[in-house]
C-alpha cells in the first residue's frame, strides 16, 4: 500500500496534468482503479488481444475533445438564439469562451466535473494505460541494457509498435 501511495504522489509531482489537478481525488482514484483493473485483465493475455485493446485506446475520446465539442455547440446555440430571439443570449458565448480560456490556461471549467464523473479520461491517462500494456506485452524488453545503440533502438521502437 505504501508503494502505491508513493507512486501516486510521485505521479502528481512529476506530471502536472492540469485536468487531474482540478478533478476531485475520488474521481481520479476511480479512473486509476479502472485502469489497474484493465491491466490485470490483460496481463495474462496474448499479444493480439493487447494490440486490439491498444487500438481502442487510441480511438478513445479524451476530455479535451468532449470539452471542445461542448464549447463549440453551446456557443453556437447562444449565437443563434442571440440572432433569432434576444440579444441577451449573446451572454452565452461570452461565458463559454471565458471559461474555455480558463480551462486552457488553468485546467478547470464548469462542465469538467460532469465529464470526469462519467469517466472521461485525459489523453495522458489513456496513454498511461497504453504504455503499461505495451510494457506488459514486452515492447520495452531488451537483452543488454548496457549497449546504448540497442537501447536507443528499443526506446524508439517500443513506443512506436502498434
Amino acid at each position: 500500500m505504501r508503494t502505491e501511495a508513493q507512486a501516486l504522489r510521485n505521479d502528481r509531482e512529476a506530471r502536472p496534468d492540469r485536468v487531474r489537478a482540478h478533478s476531485s481525488q475520488l474521481q481520479n482514484q476511480r479512473i486509476d482503479a479502472q485502469t489497474r483493473q484493465c491491466l490485470e485483465r490483460y496481463a495474462p493475455s496474448d499479444r493480439e488481444a493487447i494490440g486490439r485493446h491498444i487500438e481502442t485506446l487510441d480511438r478513445e475520446w479524451d476530455v479535451e475533445r468532449y470539452l471542445q465539442m461542448n464549447a463549440g455547440i453551446v456557443s453556437l446555440s447562444g449565437l443563434v438564439l442571440g440572432a433569432l430571439a434576444s440579444r441577451r443570449f449573446l451572454i452565452v458565448p461570452a461565458v463559454v469562451f471565458g471559461f474555455f480560456f480558463q480551462h486552457a490556461t488553468q485546467g478547470w471549467c464548469p462542465p469538467l466535473p460532469v465529464f470526469r464523473k462519467i469517466g472521461v479520461r485525459t489523453r495522458r491517462e489513456i496513454n498511461r494505460e497504453k504504455y503499461a500494456l505495451k510494457a506488459l506485452r514486452g515492447d520495452f524488453e531488451y537483452e543488454s541494457p548496457d549497449s546504448p545503440s540497442e537501447q536507443e533502438e528499443r526506446s524508439c521502437a517500443g513506443p512506436l509498435q502498434q
Binding site: P16, R65, L67, M69, L79, A83, F101, F140, S155
Partner: protein, 134 residues
C-alpha cells in the same frame, strides 16, 4: 517533429544520466500540447469577436460563430484552420509528447523491473502500473 524526437532519444541513449533523463521527462510534462494551444487561441478569438461586435459592428459575431464551428470540426475530424501554423512552430499532440516521454522512461530502465511473463497477473499488472506512474 518525429525525427527531432527520435534524434533527442538517440542523444539521450548515448550520453544522458538518470538525473538528466528525469529532468527531460519533467520538461516534457510541462510542454503545451496541441489541444491546449487550440483552446487558448479559440477562446481568445471567440471573445475578441464578441468584444468587437459590441464595440464596433455586430457583424463581428461571424468571427465567434466561425471559431465555434471550427472547434466542433476539430473535435470531430481533428482538423483546424491554424493546424499548419501550429505544426510549423513545433506544437505537438499529447500522443507525440507521450511517445518521447515513454521512450525516455524506457532508457531510464523504468520497465526492467517487470516480472517475467508467466508470473502472477496481478503482480505484473501492479509492476507495469508502478512503472508508468513513476
Amino acid at each position: 517533429l518525429d525525427l527531432e524526437a527520435q534524434l533527442r532519444i538517440r542523444d539521450a541513449a548515448e550520453s544522458a544520466s538518470t538525473d538528466e533523463l528525469t529532468r527531460r521527462i519533467a520538461q516534457l510534462d510541462n510542454e503545451w500540447d496541441f489541444d491546449r494551444a487550440v483552446e487558448t487561441e479559440a477562446a481568445l478569438m471567440g471573445l475578441l469577436g464578441l468584444g468587437l461586435a459590441v464595440v464596433i459592428d455586430k457583424r463581428f459575431l461571424a468571427l465567434t460563430a466561425f471559431v465555434s464551428s471550427m472547434l466542433v470540426l476539430h473535435a470531430t475530424h481533428g482538423w483546424y484552420p491554424l493546424l499548419p501554423l501550429f505544426r510549423r512552430i513545433g506544437v505537438r499532440t499529447q500522443d507525440e509528447i507521450d511517445r518521447e516521454r515513454y521512450g525516455l522512461k524506457a532508457l531510464r530502465a523504468d520497465f526492467t523491473a517487470l516480472p517475467p511473463a508467466g508470473s502472477r497477473a496481478s503482480e505484473r499488472a501492479a509492476a507495469a502500473w508502478k512503472a508508468v506512474c513513476e
